[in-house]
Amino acid sequence: MSSSADAAPMHLRATGQHQVAPEVMRPIMEVENVDVYYGDFRAVSEVNLDFGLNEITALIGPSGCGKSTILRSLNRMNDLIEGARVEGEIRFHGENIYGKDVDPIEVRRRIGMVFQKPNPFPKSIYDNIAYGPRVTGMKVQSMDDLVEDSLTRAALWDEVKDKLKQSALGLSGGQQQRLCIARAISVRPDVILMDEPCASLDPIATMRIEDLMQELREHYTIVIVTHNMQQAARVADRTAFFTAQPSEGNGDRTGLLVEYGTTAQIFEDPQDKRTEDYISGRFG
């Protein structure tokens, strides 16, 4: 527990050299007045949030506050959940991805996703990467080059270049997760969503993924959900803090966005008492 009420513990301070979040953000995605329902249950309400181009944004907060829910609504993965409904607008390059004529499949191609537990297909390493381009009918000059490029960008090429035809399931957990990142990159998305991508990995594999995120940031916009505040402090340019509170009327706990700012500001100068309590470990 921190002795000072104002500042986060030292190890949570955002000191990474990459975190030079510009004051002026160039938003690539804008979340406006978004409520997400599962059936009658409102899981999150009134979320307003912009994601900056080529920035890493972390979504943090206690479990059950709707981080994954918001993340899934960013590329319409909620469509796959029976009864899930999104209200409000989420714009990508200015276009509402929940608009009438929008093809959710195209949305998912432009906005990729990496999951909590590595989920490579039970296919060869090569076929895992080639899968996305094949199913989306992407025109590629050379699939071999695309596979190599994707694996290289995901910092996995050197480790797997001699065993592309072997099953992806033979890789270690950390390698599998980097394979999943390579797979997401293969369809040339603009945004990559990551839902606790290191939750099942050991510290060294976690570090490699964090380093990789810094490299990817040059070309992609990343939104990462993490329950690990040190991780948010290390990798993110901006951080959004969510919490869940009992809503008026019934006693359901609804998630809401408490505070959003540069990572440095959120960790060193939180404006909201709830944020401060959470990052200083005094939550709940």
Partner: protein
Amino acid sequence: MFAGRARPGEAVIKVVLRVAAAVAMVTTIGIVFALIVPAIGFFREVPIFDFLLGDRWAPRFADASFGVVPLVTATLWTTAIALLVSVPLGLGAALLLSEYATPGLRKTLKPILEILAGVPTVVYGFFALQFVQSTVFREWLRLDTGAFSVLAAGLVMGIMIIPTVASISEDAMSAVPMSLRQGSAALGANRMQTSLRVVFPAALSGIMAAIVLGISRAVGETMIVAIAAGSQARIVGGPLEQGQTMTGFIASAALGDSRVGSLEYNTLYAVGLLLFAITLTVNFISIRLVRRFRQAY
């Protein structure tokens, strides 16, 4: 230090399981013996190559001949036709149930399959004979066919096997983790692509098992072919011809009054042994195939 209470329940369970396994083993060995002993008697009198390669099956004639090829051709026709029906429809039903069906559709489709599985084969046999062959083929379609055909028997047998193929392959598809479907969807795959390119290959070993079981049931099915396929053992050249299958012959000969130990009696067992060998081979090959194409997850 770790001494715990003895668990008498577990010992009982172990014994029960061992007994169950032993019963299965003993039965299998018993069947093989019961087949082999009379079959050896048969092959003392009929050279094995005359049996396997001969094209005239006339065990009860004065100039008896024991070429099994005619029976095999009838079995191949009915089995092939049954698989053409049951594999696509069974896999389609499984895909529908596991990947597409809303709870409402499941509630209708599942009972239909269960009803299909519960119909006695003798009912299927008469359905094939009276409705499919006589009414549909001869009256409505005016096809050039007699009272029996391997097509009518095979089609109806295919319908009978659909639930087997469907339920086993549906189990296999449902066992594929949701995370793989999500991973596929997140790459921009639609449902059909996810089903065919991710779920289907991942469930392949279960699907193969379903098909093999379908083949075994088709090869071994007796009542439908005994009623609707025909009773003359002639080489079958087309689907509208009649033909006696291996099981059809066994059923008809078993009803006769051949003396135990006679050549006619032993003939039954020679055909039975061949049937057994065919099923075993199919199983064996499929295990090999599954190993080769296996996609574990």
